[in-house]
Symmetry: D2
Subunit: 182 residues, 4 copies
């Protein structure tokens, strides 16, 4: 049985193939510009997105916190105002989600750094961004933004992986920060 | 029309009367022990509770953040592990909510400070606590913990009020930290 | 010691007095129009608000669910789109919170019913609303919207109380729906 | 440049390779038992998990809601009690997360159906489950449960994909339910 037939009978492999096809087209330079943006351990980072993009942003935020970064998720009760010198990482497939665009405009007006993860590099959000991580989703058998959201999660986990791989005892430090209230 | 009749025709006044009756029995010493526990601006505070108690805890956490305290809400993606030297403020009407008791035990095992807001001063949580803020709810016409939750919110807002009233420009500093992403 | 002196030495009583002063000025007709809007047990209700207003809206939503209403909180993963025939209850002190105004406009464009709880009866949100529950906060010693949020919670709990008081076994039915996962 | 070298210079491809290796070992029968468990459109489904597993569960819950299923996320204000005839889908890498185990025990005591997504088929949670979706993660270069969480998200999205692919106009129906408040 060839790969296509196997994927048809095991639908999760078809999704895996879609993901790999997108990941293979991600730009190396753009990825490492995002990694370098997170190099500064003193910068506060806000993570945001609506719907499933927002949940993927929360997943990335949690790992960034484990790595020792100062992290807030927009909408959490503990999140303060965003100001100059802070960073905002925004996930939006269309790059046009109204609430996300409104937040990005506030962030830029405050002179915060804006990173946008999107499949639309010509969108409103991409045009506002200091760095764009383009997730090159062109077509998918799945509903709506699912392929985009899966790839965004993997790419941001790869950013965390890249930031952590050169640290001594990264896993031990990350485990120590992992919540013990669950 | 006397106060009772007025309250009957305007049901929110009956709730207001219930609240005042509880607030009048709150212990002065216990309240100010909680205020003093928050005096240390360097301590990280975790806020927790289940259901509506947890939402009231989040409301208090937000104001504590506005005041400049280092604040986390348990369950938020950005919340790290709790460790020695941290504080946990737990709201639980019964003082026996299983998840809350489990978290309080972890916090005490880590040697964190535990403040419990409860209507049951003989409960599991109260017995684990370093400080108990007893909310003396005895009976209520309302469903379940509503009166307890209303009083807990007001009492914790009073703690914030007391912490802020002696600071110069407290309202300006608090407004500056209030989220600008909404 | 008179009431003013007692309140000064016990700051939570000063907050309680602020609350009662607001509650006494709430309009009877407006309150019962909100109660009647919730009479229809088939209508889906969405609850929303930003920051602490959103947390108070979540607290009200939970009790409405206990009462047997079909309830969603905007932003929850389980919340579907709002459509004609649905209701949106929005809490906003200023009545001008940008995200809340944007949501209210979508709701009205879909021909949903809009109830606004606000301290500003001349605001954008109030002008969009089918029913306004005016929380007549004029001044407060507290920071920001605290007094408004406390009163909004109490008023919405009073709506729930009023809806439940005429039902046989309301408390038993509500307790049965109260989450057992906590 | 061969695949290994490419993955080394483009770290997200190394993550993609880890994911594919896990997905290829997922059991066909177990996957379709989970698909069939969701066939019943009348059953209420609760989704749960702690930390990033909980966020992945929320992402799956949202798509199940789009598909027309009755969905709650444990911990959301709108979530009622779980009862006989309901379903609980729990994600836990270790299968031993204390809060998740406690919730699963309540669900089973109520005679709800329990589906557990885990990398540990001999864990407490797996032993409580009616159906186990084993995510066969054995080793990973990534921190903690990242690979497990990525694969769990993809597998549950594949369950949704499988449930939707045979429906006429599935994408149109799902888009109609997708929140319009964002």
């Amino acid at each position: 049985m060839d790969a296509g037939a196997a994927a048809q009978s095991r639908p999760w492999l078809a999704l895996g193939q879609e993901i790999i096809e997108v990941l293979e087209k991600v730009d190396l330079e753009a990825f490492f510009r995002v990694v370098r943006a997170f190099d500064d351990c003193k910068r506060r980072w806000f993570f945001s997105g609506q719907g499933r993009s927002g949940l993927a942003a929360s997943m990335a935020a949690m790992r960034a916190m484990h790595l020792g970064r100062i992290v807030h998720v927009v909408g959490e009760a503990s999140a303060p105002s965003i100001r100059a010198g802070d960073g905002l990482l925004m996930i939006s497939g269309s790059g046009e989600t109204p609430v996300s665009v409104a937040f990005a405009r506030v962030a830029k007006a405050e002179r915060a750094v804006l990173i946008v993860v999107t499949r639309q590099p010509e969108s409103l959000l991409a045009n506002l961004a200091d760095e764009v991580l383009h997730v090159p989703v062109t077509r998918s058998a799945q509903f709506g933004g699912s392929l985009f959201e899966q790839c965004s999660l993997i790419l941001l986990d790869a950013v965390i992986f890249e930031l952590g791989r050169h640290l001594p005892d990264a896993h031990a430090h990350m485990a120590h920060r992992h919540t013990n209230l669950q």
